[in-house]
């Protein structure tokens, strides 16, 4: 036990969940688009991080290191769901829509004027940028901001849960929003 702790003296697994869970979760959700799977991947990432903590040389920031593990986990996930031969065969057919059977691949080429795919990528990046800024907020501000903005919990419920009054809440929200607006790089606006 003591030996293990010594090995990990660059890493602080106790703080991983608080510091990186949301960031990793956003990263995963953008890639597997299923929050349950994403959650599992994040948890697995933490386990894997713990296991290979002795390989951590400290040349990357803790979060970068965890993201690198998560990347592998995402790839493994896609490998796993594609390993079934039957599934692979279904995926081979270029179009599952029966109506357009007999149409050719030319019609399936991405529309060069479509902004859709590009903006999806951009939004995933924006999400990470915002999470980055949220992580820098004082703990209480981050908590209230997340509950209100991301989880959409009503003012009343948040006040009850945290034991604050509504004007308190709005002051916290105001501080959080102002800091976040300043933190988000100006080119997002």
């Amino acid at each position: 036990m003591k030996n293990q702790q010594e090995l990990m003296h660059h890493l602080n697994p106790d703080t991983w969940v608080d510091n990186y869970a949301d960031y990793l979760f956003n990263y995963a959700v953008a890639r597997v688009s299923d929050s349950e799977i994403a959650k599992d991947l994040v948890q697995e990432t933490f386990f894997a991080g713990l296991k290979s903590a002795k390989n951590y040389k400290g040349d990357a920031a803790e979060r970068t290191w965890l993201i690198a593990i998560l990347k592998r986990k995402v790839i493994d996930h896609y490998r796993k769901i594609n390993s079934n031969k039957g599934k692979a065969e279904v995926r081979m057919s270029y179009n599952s829509n029966i109506d357009s059977e007999g149409d050719w691949l030319e019609e399936q080429v991405a529309d060069p004027y479509s902004k859709l795919d590009n903006s999806d990528l951009e939004n995933a990046e924006l999400g990470l940028a915002i999470q980055d800024c949220i992580a820098k907020l004082p703990k209480k501000q981050a908590l209230v901001f997340k509950m209100k903005t991301i989880q959409g919990i009503s003012t009343e419920d948040i006040c009850n849960e945290l034991g604050i009054n509504s004007s308190n809440l709005w002051v916290i929200i105001h501080r959080a929003r102002t800091t976040l607006m300043g933190c988000l790089n100006t080119n997002w606006f």
Partner: protein
């Protein structure tokens, strides 16, 4: 005439659709007269739309506690 502080509070409420009709009128009126608040108001709304666009996700506190427990078990193994 309401103070800038109050205007900012209403503006924040507005981002979560929680400003009353009366508050909205007060804010509109303030924005007409005040020099600095319109900029804040505009940025605030832009920030709201950025947050919506980003499809922010977060784990609930309970989920995080569960994660911590599982992690703790692994550490002590």
């Amino acid at each position: 005439m309401i103070s800038c502080e109050k205007a900012a509070k209403i503006c924040n409420k507005l981002q979560y659709n929680e400003a009353s009709f009366f508050e909205k009128i007060n804010l509109k009126f303030h924005l007409l007269i005040c020099k600095t608040c319109p900029q804040f108001s505009k940025r605030n709304s832009e920030f709201t739309s950025l947050c919506q666009k980003a499809h922010l996700q977060s784990l609930t506190e309970q989920e995080k506690i569960k994660m911590k427990e599982k992690l703790q078990k692994e550490v002590t193994k």
